[in-house]
């Protein structure tokens, strides 16, 4: 295992995570203890260079530690943000908030505390205590100075004595000045001495050479010696030009000298402390700084670590959400957490599981629907509003004789060539919102009739369309055959009707002419007239049939419906006495139709209505209905029997006993060409009402 791996393992170890803050806490406590002990330390210890060195190094180490942790955290956060790692922004905010909330109070506390401390230290040296200590030292020194002055006076008196009577002078001076010793030195060697027997003269060491050098240089010198039982203050004076030096000493016993020394030492200690005031402030500030930095280090480390720990489940959750969005249903977050985030993870895992189950159910349903669609005989196509193919079933592929297109292929590319009419029809139907249309196309050299039904894909919105295509070629062919049979029967019947008078007229003329009857010319004239009349009838019938067969294609354009209906009704105003025609229609109905053909269809209906009405009003009206426009033509005529209503729109069916029976068939065809519907109803109280529904 590499060192990095080991460190990484230890970094994740909860024992380490607990131990490190505890160590920091212990260090802080130790520093606090040191601060508490500081009051027991001497000024030298407090201003010790070693202590300051240690504190400075601790502070430097802590500062570098803080900078390292901070910079490392910042670099990692920046890299995470650059890599787009989820949770890095949240972690940044969290860490900044925690650091700020700990850094600001700690720093404020540090600055206030150190300022208070420095002010307090300054105040120590401005109290009456300093003056008392100074006065004490002055009194003590004055006492010593007084003793030194007595000794100096005694030494000077000895030096001024007659050299021949020095012995007497020594005794006199010792007694007169009450000094504890007087003596004479020659070249640093004691030659004569007189001392107080109670003074410990033996404890006084011999003055050093420098003492006598000073006397030689300046004429006099003073020296203080501390001995076991007290203090000796000795003063020396050069004896004229001789090599002798007169020395007088005053002994201050320990009981007194201790008091003097204590006064002096206490004030000097105080002065030392005062002199080292900046260093003292520095040591105290360094202690505070060390504590502050230790707290900051711990806070910073804990903040960064905690922010990382907190964002782990959030990051895992975000990553799992991303996987779910990419279709990874059933993906679970494996991070354990016991707080609210843990509940969120649990909910997410439940949601993911449910989504997976629903997806499986949906897949099963889709498979089932695909099976159903493939088993139905009708061709089913689904496509979007932009004609992107969504699905196509097997029946449609067979019906249209096309290969399985790829999903998302454009319908125009699939329905091309012979199938282009089907695509055009679908485009027209979807554009107009119409529902059904019959499409004729040639596929594989054969004429095919397809019934196309279009419906909006369920679910609302504009998601697309579903188309059902049914091959009605056989049905249409059968219907056509039946229609042709019916047409042939009716044509035969219609042709037979005029043929009978023609035949009878021709036979009558022939009989008259054969019998040479007297009324032969009259019979010829009458017969000829009849034959011409019936032939004319035959001709009209053939013309109508030709017109029905040559129905022009529909040319759609936007037109005002009121205008169309007014024009159609205008042809039948005042045509029949007692019969009036009225038009009721809103002005703002605009409709996409072939105006000529709609006018012709309404005209045909009006023609029948006027003919069927003896007296009264024929009403033409139009109104809007959901997704369509309804045109009604109602008359108060004799009405249509229910039995005839089914056959009313068949070609050559007529209830009038005259005419071709193509009028309503033409109307029916025109309406069909407009994807509309025509129906016949009884009018109330009497008569007939035709209703045309056109898509709007």
């Amino acid at each position: 295992m590499t060192l990095r791996a080991k460190l990484f393992r230890y970094r994740k170890d909860p024992r380490v995570i607990v131990t490190v803050p505890l160590l920091i806490l212990a260090g802080t406590t130790l520093i606090y203890y040191a601060v508490q002990r500081a009051k027991e330390l001497s000024p030298e210890a407090l201003s010790s260079q070693v202590l300051l060195f240690v504190l400075a190094n601790i502070n430097v180490l802590l500062i570098f530690g803080i900078l390292f942790v901070l910079l490392r955290g910042i670099v990692k956060l920046v890299l995470d943000r650059q890599r787009g790692i989820i949770g890095s922004r949240f972690r940044t905010k969290l860490a900044i908030t925690w650091v700020a909330t700990s850094l600001i109070p700690v720093l404020i506390l540090f600055f206030f505390a150190t300022d208070l401390l420095r002010t307090s230290i300054d105040r120590w040296f401005n109290t009456p205590v300093s003056r008392i200590l100074a006065n004490g030292e002055a009194i003590a020194q004055m006492s010593e100075d007084q003793s030194a002055a007595i000794a100096a006076a005694a030494a000077r008196e000895i030096a001024a004595s007659d050299p021949s009577q020095l012995d007497a002078a020594l005794s006199h001076v010792q007694q007169f000045h009450s000094v504890d010793m007087v003596g004479l030195y020659r070249s640093g060697t004691l030659v004569r001495v007189v001392a107080n027997p109670r003074a410990p003269i033996h404890e006084a060491s011999e003055p050093p050479k420098k003492f006598f050098d000073d006397v030689a240089a300046s004429g006099h010198a003073t020296k203080i010696d501390v001995v076991a039982t007290g203090k000796w203050i000795r003063s020396a004076t050069r004896v004229g030009a001789t090599p002798y030096v007169a020395v007088a000493g005053v002994f201050i016993p320990a009981t007194m000298s201790r008091l003097i020394d204590e006064s002096i030492v206490m004030h000097k200690n105080f002065e030392q402390l005062n002199a080292q005031r900046p260093t003292l402030k520095a040591s105290q500030t360094s202690l505070f700084l060390a504590v502050t930095l230790a707290i900051l280090f711990g806070t910073l480390w804990t903040s960064i670590y905690a922010s990382r720990r907190i964002t782990i489940p959030i990051k895992a959750l975000a990553e799992a959400t991303g996987k779910l969005a990419e279709g990874g249903y059933g993906h679970r977050v494996a991070v354990a957490a016991t707080d609210e985030v843990g509940r969120l993870i649990e909910s997410f895992n439940d949601m993911s599981t449910q989504l997976d189950q629903q997806r499986q159910a949906l897949t099963q349903t889709n498979r089932y629907l695909s099976t159903v669609l493939d088993s139905v005989s009708a061709g089913i196509l689904a496509f979007t509003d932009t004609f992107e193919l969504l699905s196509v079933n097997h029946a449609a592929l067979q019906m249209l004789q096309i290969e399985q297109p790829r999903s998302g292929a454009n319908l125009a590319d699939v329905l091309m060539g012979d199938l282009t009419p089907l695509f055009d029809t679908l485009r027209e139907l979807t554009a107009r919102g119409a529902r059904a249309r019959e499409v004729t196309l040639i596929r594989g050299g054969e004429l095919r009739y397809l019934e196309v039904s279009v419906a909006r894909l369920s679910g609302g919105g504009d998601e697309g369309w579903v188309v059902a295509v049914e091959d009605s070629t056989s049905l249409v062919q059968a219907q056509k055959l039946a229609a042709w049979n019916e047409a042939a029967r009716r044509i035969a019947h219609e042709i037979k009707n005029p043929l009978t008078p023609i035949q009878l007229s021709a036979e009558r003329i022939a009989r008259k002419f054969r019998n040479n009857d007297a009324d032969t010319p009259q019979a010829i004239e009458e017969g000829t007239k009849t034959i011409v009349s019936e032939v004319g009838q035959l001709k009209r019938m053939v013309d109508e049939f030709a017109r029905f067969a040559r129905m022009p294609a529909v040319h759609l354009r936007h037109a005002q419906l009121s205008e169309i209906l007014q024009q159609a009704a205008g042809l039948y105003l005042d045509v029949k006495p007692g019969v009036s025609v009225s038009v009721t229609v809103q002005d703002d109905i605009e409709i996409l139709v072939d105006p000529e053909q709609i006018r012709r269809a309404v005209g045909n209906l009006l023609k029948n209505a006027v003919e069927a009405t003896e007296s009264g009003e024929v009403r033409v009206s139009a109104r809007r209905a959901p997704h369509r426009v309804v045109i009604e033509v109602a008359d108060p005529g004799r009405g249509v029997p229910d039995a005839d209503k089914e056959k009313l729109f068949l070609p050559y069916f007529s209830t009038k006993g005259r005419g071709t029976g193509l009028g309503l068939a033409i109307v029916h065809r025109i309406v069909n060409d407009h994807d509309g519907r025509i129906s016949v109803h009884d009018n109330h109280p009497r008569g007939t009402r035709f209703e045309i529904e056109l898509p709007a």
């Binding site: 502070n59 420098k210 203080i224 002096i264 000097k268 030392q272 500030t285 360094s286």
Partner: protein
């Protein structure tokens, strides 16, 4: 060294018994024109004065390269100040048989310590002083 005891705090500190140290760092180089000078030797001289308030004497310790060379006592301040600010040390360096020409001496005295922001130590020092030294006279044969 001049102006070492101009500050009242220095005198007061000294007389309160705080050990007062002047540190002299003496370096000797061989001058090399248009190139870095060649360092030959370096020594550190410390003069530490401590006032004994009971005997009213100043003890002056003279240390070289962290070794005590000598101690002296002074009864008056001016004599002490003169002893502290004057380095009179013959044979400070042994430069062996090097040519003694073009030698430079630099002296630095560390006076006392100050504090930046109350906790960052800041040494008060003189600038480096350089002086050419004359070649010693050839010994008479």
């Amino acid at each position: 060294m001049a102006h070492a005891f101009e500050r009242e705090e220095t005198i007061k500190g000294l007389q309160s018994g705080v050990p007062t140290t002047l540190t002299y760092i003496v370096e000797i180089f061989r001058d090399r024109p248009r190139w870095f000078d060649e360092g030959i030797a370096r020594t550190r001289v410390e003069v530490i004065a401590t006032f004994n308030s009971l005997t009213r004497e100043y003890l002056l310790n003279y240390r070289r390269d962290h070794k005590l060379i000598r101690s002296e006592t002074f009864n008056n301040l001016p004599a002490l100040q003169k002893a502290m600010t004057t380095i009179d040390e013959p044979n400070l360096f042994d430069i062996g048989k090097r040519p003694p020409y073009k030698l430079k001496v630099r002296v630095k005295a560390d006076l006392m310590r100050g504090w930046l922001l109350y906790f960052i130590p800041w040494e008060f020092s003189t600038r480096w002083k350089a002086a050419r030294v004359a070649s010693p006279p050839e010994p008479a044969r």
